[in-house]
Symmetry: none
Subunit: 202 residues, 4 copies
């Protein structure tokens, strides 16, 4: 077997472990290396051939969750000639859609306290894109700056953070309280997004 093949098998095993780990972790009732090994159908010791420790495994899990969510959010491509406000709106819908499509990853990334390597969070690349879209709207004077006396950067950040808050609110509630009698998930999402956006449009 070539080195490349060997590496591929390794990677697949690693991925399988992480996949099982995510399920197990979110199932809620305790996450143990033994249970994980049982689910992966390997010996507990085998896990340590792929991850130095339980903590490292969980950190990798979180890292991947962020990656998946970023990827999903990044899939919302800006269209040429598109109205900048619609861009923002579509971006927000994309955020919620991605979160709901990957609830496990969303919970891991935003709703759990996991051991972090050294206190640093992965750079929120996606958030940067939001800021950019918002800035466009402000530049094009399609958004009225909520604090006119503050600088444009500050207003950009403020708006982006407010938008994030709103979409995070729906997304997390829909994920954490699936049993709540929501009137209509779609209508709710639309209402929150439109509310947050429309109130900015001048």
């Amino acid at each position: 077997m070539t080195a490349a093949q060997r590496q591929r098998v390794r990677d697949e095993t690693r991925a399988a472990i992480l996949h099982a780990a995510r399920q197990l972790f979110l199932q809620g009732d305790g996450f143990s290396m033994r249970q994980l090994a049982a689910r992966v159908e390997c010996s507990p010791a085998a896990l340590y051939l792929h991850f130095k420790s339980k903590d490292e495994l969980l950190q990798e899990l979180m890292r991947r969750s962020f990656a998946i969510l970023f990827e999903g959010a990044a899939a919302v491509q800006d269209r040429a000639g598109e109205d900048p406000v619609e861009r923002v709106r579509r971006g927000m819908h994309g955020y919620v859609r991605t979160g709901l499509a990957h609830p496990d990853e969303y919970r891991l990334a935003f709703l759990t306290t996991l051991p972090e390597p050294d206190g640093t969070r992965p750079p929120n690349a996606a958030f940067e894109r939001v800021r950019e879209r918002v800035r466009r709207c402000l530049d094009a004077q399609r958004f009225s700056p909520p604090r006119p006396q503050a600088g444009i950067e500050a207003n950009t950040s403020l708006i982006a953070q407010a938008l994030w808050s709103a979409v995070h609110g729906v997304t997390s509630l829909l994920i954490l309280r699936p049993g709540f009698p929501w009137v209509s998930r779609e209508a709710l999402i639309a209402r929150v997004v439109d509310g947050a956006v429309d109130s900015l449009v001048r």
Copy 2:
């Protein structure tokens, strides 16, 4: 010592245990009765003089957290002759303020998965008040119904849920990501609340 005195000591001890438990639980890295006992400076067995089991203790913790948050939110009194839209706005600010004033309780109540007694959540009395305030606005035609073809009750629920989503979004982010470079907590809160409300006003 009189029976009343004894009861008081009991209550204080119970409260001290719950206090330490909240800290320990939210600290994130595992919650054990033994650690709790160490923190309270008593024997592990002593905890069982106050709580039948770990689960019962945690449930009580959650119950109290809800109670505190309800109390805080209920403190927002409607004023006579007040504009119904302002009532909604003030209610939302009260929600966020309460959550931020009791971040531990907020996390316990809304951001963690705790063993629930029998699958039932405490009835969200506070949420009912929101619905009521929203209905007033719809009745007084100060809010435009987001889905005109739907009934007034459905629109009430939809709006209330959207408002809840928005405020929960800010509250939870501010609590969970205290290290994030928020532009301004107050401005952010105002922006989210105003956005959610203003877009409804006709």
Copy 3:
């Protein structure tokens, strides 16, 4: 309250504790002072006002069980002019009857391993009466000595022990295996007793 009255209350409490203890012990799933206290509806500490320790309590329990069984067996009175063989037979029936009437005591006395005070068993007074009845049969030449060459005392003991073995066998099996498909308890007892006795009659 007079001293006598006080003493009577004490005795009653003590008896109540022992009564509850017997039930709890034979219930099978663990015997603890706390559970006992709960059953007696007093505090665990109160038990220690009546018994120095758990062991002492259990020893007293065993002592009383023996007493009750002796009493029951002793109730079989010899009748004037009665055939000595029939005396033996009636005595054996009395033993079984008493055991089955007090199965808890029988189990405590003969079928459990309890901490003994100092390795001594209570003198088996009842057993002495059996020997006496047997000796009468031998004296009257109603029993043929199983080992003619051995002395009369030895034969007496041998027969008495064999009779005891037989009745203990039925009694204990009927108590320990209540679920076994016994053909007929009465017929079984009669068969065992008659078998053991008849084969001795010359």
Copy 4:
């Protein structure tokens, strides 16, 4: 080390654990996994590599005890042309001999209350053989039916149960009361067996 070798070591360890468990259990003063581990000279956790739980271990203990006793009793082979009554007699002697040769197993199997898997006792195969031997005697009219009006099956059962009672009586007493001043173990056994059998012979 080959897989077969490994398996052998496993089996030996398992056997060693069960051996120590039997001793510890019958010693009387409480049976705990920790004490067992100490006796086996391994960590408490190691026991769980061989048995899922304490209950399972004890059940296996009982199962093995029954197996050993059955085996011993089954070793009493019927001889061609043997008098059917002698067959019964020899079978009973075999029962007692086996019990006394394995007192620990006898106590576990017949004199203790152990957690049973699902309320079912192992089918008493040995008991079936006794019934068969008894039936032969009845068929050959060597035994007089104790209840002539009852069917042959009922009489077979009745006699078999009576014989069992008698031998169980001696066996258990000799095991449980080793300190009792027995005249002569052998003479006692013979007396009980002969008594039970002879009284049936017509």
